[in-house]
């Protein structure tokens, strides 16, 4: 199921990526690849990762996301994690998982506001 469930959409100056509900390691790795390729192709200023459907989260996911945030930062974009579920946030905190330097927003709408409000290109 790895790659076909990931949608990477270019929206204005941003990339909107929807993460599938129950991402396995392969999917997460594929997601990173696709995101970086799209960044290279479109030269976007920001990336919104919509994780509102994600119900479970493990350390691999957290680490890969943190790495992706750094990589996107090196390519000149900022990353916003949008719509994390309350239960997922509780679990992540209890497991001590952090998402690196990712910005967070309640939903995609607010994430776009956030990327719009601050100038891009100043790293992460």
């Amino acid at each position: 199921m790895a790659t076909e469930n990931i949608s990477v959409i270019k929206l204005r100056n941003f990339l909107l990526v929807t993460v599938p509900p129950d991402p396995d390691d392969q999917t997460v790795s594929a997601l990173q690849e696709q995101v970086l390729e799209a960044m290279a192709q479109h030269e976007c200023g920001g990336l919104v990762l919509d994780i509102s459907t994600v119900e479970t989260l493990d350390s691999f996911f957290a680490r890969t996301i943190a790495e992706t945030v750094q990589m996107v930062g090196l390519m000149g974009g900022r990353t916003v994690l949008a719509g994390m579920r309350a239960s997922v946030a509780v679990t992540a905190t209890q497991l001590g998982l952090t998402m690196g330097k990712a910005l967070t927003a309640l939903d995609v709408d607010r994430a776009l506001d956030l990327l719009d409000s601050a100038p891009s290109g100043d790293g992460v």
């Binding site: 309350a86 946030a89 910005l103 967070t104 309640l106």
Partner: protein
């Protein structure tokens, strides 16, 4: 021994073989159901307590299998037979659980089954002593429910403005309460789509390292959601304690009063409270 239909039991002389006064003692006890079972588990004697607790008259129950006191699911699991086997093997079996009265109502029972053996060690039957602990069980459940309710009541999360929720914390924070508080706060933030949460600690008597850690955890969980926390109600005593304990809250927005916190929140939402007549 003459059978007397008016007494509460028929003497199990074949099994028990004791004198009349002892039989009278057992039969008259009203607070405990004291029942003799034959080796297969059929009722062989019945006292006043058994009639009171379980509702059967002696003539209705004598000779019946004792599994009729158990709820259907326990019978399906083979619990009655299992209890007898354990009692026969180890001499004694004690259990607490739901049992069924004649009228179908359930009661919480403490039951002890002891194996009765004669001098040669042959199993002659079982003595089953049952107490009705329904009231104690109900009291325990009531206490549990009340403490749950107190917990719920002590961590309300309210929306005070479009995009702002307030959570006044009252009492000390242990890990169980933190867990619950965190879940409620996070759920309310998502429900109300609020990017700002004011956590007021005015009602927290003292802060120790653990409480502070719990607060920091909660705040990082809120950040994962994409919302921000302003910690309000930092009293002088709490500020002193935090510094003396060396707890670093420098990357958390803090204010001394809820009002100041609300001003910060409105400011961040780009809102302003203006007097009606337009004068400052």
């Amino acid at each position: 021994m003459a059978k007397q239909p008016s007494t509460t039991s028929t003497s199990p002389a074949t099994v028990l073989g004791t004198d009349d006064s002892f039989r009278l003692l057992v039969e008259s006890v009203k607070d405990y159901a004291i029942v003799m079972l034959d080796p297969e588990g059929h009722v062989a004697s019945w006292n006043a307590g058994a009639e009171r607790i379980k509702g059967y008259r002696p003539d209705e129950i004598m000779g019946k299998h004792f599994s009729c006191f158990y709820p259907a699911d326990a019978i399906q699991r083979g619990l009655p037979e299992q209890e007898l086997r354990t009692a026969a093997k180890e001499g004694r079996f004690e259990d607490e659980g739901w049992r069924v009265r004649k009228d179908g109502k359930q009661f919480w029972a403490n039951a002890i089954i002891s194996a009765l053996r004669d001098k040669d060690g042959t199993l002659r039957g079982f003595a089953k002593v049952t107490r009705d602990l329904t009231e104690r069980k109900q009291a325990e459940e009531r206490i549990q429910q009340q403490s749950r309710e107190i917990m719920e009541l002590s961590t309300p999360v309210m929306q005070v403005w479009q995009g702002v929720v307030v959570a006044p914390l009252i009492g000390s924070l242990d890990s169980q309460r933190t867990q619950q508080f965190m879940e409620r706060l996070l759920n309310r933030i998502v429900e109300t789509n609020s990017p700002l949460a004011l956590v007021d600690i005015m009602g927290v008597p003292t802060i120790d390292t653990q409480t502070a850690q719990h607060l920091i955890e909660t705040i990082s969980a809120v950040r994962l959601l994409g919302a921000q926390v302003v910690l309000t109600g930092v009293r002088p005593a709490i500020a002193q304690t935090l510094v003396h304990l060396g707890i670093d809250l420098s990357d958390i927005l803090t204010r001394s009063s809820l009002a100041a916190g609300l001003r910060v929140a409105l400011d961040m939402l780009n809102l302003q409270v203006v007097a009606k007549n337009g004068k400052p």
